[in-house]
């Protein structure tokens, strides 16, 4: 356990310094000792969680969160598909940004999802009507929505309304600056959970799966 913690700490330090080669060395060493699911559970996820907590506390910068998630995503891309982790019984998921060209939050969460072995559809930038329509057409069970502006965050009310009208049970997980600044906003717009960072988004997905 102690050695695992040390490995995670060293891995986090390499990620925060954007040391791709150093991070890859640790990743490969952990992978050789066990299976890919173990590497994800014991290295990638704890590292992303630590970095997410650092972002919450103000000790880690957004640029570091972004670069760390990209490096983890790259490491997972090099893993042969046959051995890549596939979450057993994972729900149909998608990710989207509402009415905004600032896509950083979506990119970070997407990278963390891929690095954690989740499959999902990327809807890119959509309006609330487009999003509700895509969710229904694709029978999406969990939708992750990123919003940078307050008005975009408030649009999620409309998405929720359209989904309820259609009798859709889709769970909505939201994230982005407005939700971080107003911790009651996610409930107000009718979301099922809020992720203040990518690690919290992963936890929110797990919670949604348990209650589905």
């Amino acid at each position: 356990m102690i050695s695992q913690k040390k490995e995670v700490q060293t891995f986090v330090a390499k990620l925060l310094r954007t040391d791709r080669l150093g991070a890859e060395e640790i990743f490969n060493a952990v992978q050789e000792q066990g299976s890919m699911p173990q590497t994800v559970d014991q290295l990638i996820l704890p590292a992303l969680e630590t970095i997410g907590q650092g972002w919450e506390k103000g000790t880690v910068a957004l640029a570091q969160v972004y670069m760390s998630s990209r490096i983890c995503e790259e490491l997972m891309i090099h893993v042969p598909l046959s051995t890549a982790l596939q979450h057993p019984g994972y729900p149909r998921m998608a990710i989207a940004v509402l009415d905004d060209y600032h896509l950083l939050g979506k990119i970070i969460v997407s990278a963390c999802l891929r690095a954690s072995g989740y499959a999902f559809q990327d809807y890119g930038r959509v309006t609330s009507q487009e999003l509700a329509c895509k969710i229904k057409n694709d029978s999406i069970e969990i939708i992750l929505v990123s919003a940078l502006m307050l008005r975009s965050a408030l649009q999620i009310k409309e998405v929720k309304r359209l989904l309820v009208e259609a009798g859709s049970p889709t769970r909505i997980v939201v994230g982005g600056a407005p939700f971080r600044f107003d911790p009651l906003l996610w409930k107000e717009v009718g979301a099922d959970a809020m992720g203040a960072n990518a690690a919290e988004a992963l936890s929110a997905i797990s919670s949604c799966i348990k209650t589905m």
Partner: protein, 352 residues
């Protein structure tokens, strides 16, 4: 710098200058950084409102009459600088416009990028006309706060956040070229606003905040750019990290020569005031997002709390933490804030 005129009601300009000189004026100055609300005052849509300088001038004057705050704000929308570079602006009925598709997609785009000529740009000229008219109306009694986006932060709209972060880490030559163009534009744009009548310039630089950039090479780059840029702006400046954390970089910001600092709502106003004591005034730090659902009583409580933490001895301007009050914040809350500043912000301070 003028001292306090005991018992006299100061003009907004006297009040702000006194507090910037670390003395106590007649009451705590407050900046309601209202942009879109002027459209509501005039019964216009947001896009229609920003299309004519005379609308914004009238909106700013009416809002100041209504709320009695201590500045005029000719800033229209952040995407305007991208519009000046030839980029797309996307309008909404209930919020500020966004910048559209990035104008920089390749390295070639950076090498061919040219700073727009301020006086040839219709949108920038509109702001200069706004400032000129406000100056005529307010004379020297109310500060007019011009605004620029820093050369270091503008690329978020020019090329997208993720591409820019990667550029910072991996392509220093392209980064330097981009800074060169943006800095030329920023200096010219700021000084044109000063020449039109702006009293001071607010330098918006969220990327220099440790919330966004890590300590190390890119943070150093941000401050290097800020120091060079601010040294060429011919007026006092306020450094605003637009909700980003400030405490860890207070000394770096003071070194840029800025007169005031916009403080994040995630930080303790008293701690930041103590860190800046006598060296730089603090501006903040109401949570603009939460403000949307405050009651008038909560607004009053927030004013009392902020005054208690940061107003003693001057050097404090009450404001929001981001530099723009969201469209969804009600007139009722804004009036409650204004009333509370007049009640609880009077010097000498009562026990808040």
């Amino acid at each position: 710098m003028m001292g306090k005129r005991q018992g006299a009601i100061m003009t907004a300009m006297e009040r702000v200058l006194t507090t910037l000189g670390y003395q106590e004026p007649d009451r705590v100055p407050f900046f309601l950084l209202l942009t879109m609300h002027g459209a509501r005052e005039l019964g216009l849509g947001i896009q229609e409102y920003f299309a004519k300088a005379e609308y914004v001038v009238e909106g700013q004057l009416r809002m100041r009459r209504k709320y009695g705050h201590d500045c005029l704000n000719p800033f229209c929308y952040a995407a305007m600088e991208i519009e000046a570079f030839g980029g797309e602006v996307i309008w909404f009925e209930d919020g500020p416009p966004n910048s559209g598709e990035p104008i920089i997609k390749t390295a070639t785009d950076i090498f061919s990028l040219q700073a727009p000529e301020v006086h040839s740009s219709p949108c920038l000229n509109r702001v200069l006309n706004i400032i000129h008219s406000l100056k005529e109306q307010a004379r020297d009694e109310v500060p007019i706060i011009g605004t620029v986006i820093s050369p270091f932060s503008l690329p978020v709209m020019q090329m997208g956040f993720s591409a820019y972060i990667e550029l910072m880490y991996e392509q220093p030559e392209l980064f330097d070229r981009l800074m060169e163009v943006n800095q030329e534009f920023c200096v010219n744009w700021a000084n044109a606003q000063i020449q039109a009548g702006a009293t001071a310039i607010c330098y918006f630089d969220p990327l220099t905040s440790p919330t966004i950039t890590a300590p190390g090479v890119h943070l150093e780059k941000g401050f290097a750019v800020a120091r060079q840029t601010l040294a060429r702006i011919q007026s006092p400046t306020a450094f605003h990290l637009a909700s980003g954390r400030t405490l860890a970089v207070v000394d770096d910001i003071i070194a840029t020569g800025s007169a005031a600092l916009g403080v994040s709502t995630t930080e303790d106003l008293g701690e930041v005031k103590a860190a800046c004591q006598g060296r730089m005034a603090v501006l903040g730090n109401f949570n603009g997002i939460e403000m949307r659902r405050w009651t008038p009583q909560q607004a009053e409580d927030k004013v009392r709390e902020a005054v208690a933490k940061a107003a003693a001895g001057g050097g404090f301007i009450l404001s929001d933490n981001h530099g723009e009050i969201p469209w969804q914040v009600s007139e009722e809350v804004l009036l409650a804030l204004a009333e509370a500043v007049h009640t609880w912000g009077r010097y000498p301070l009562v026990d808040c």
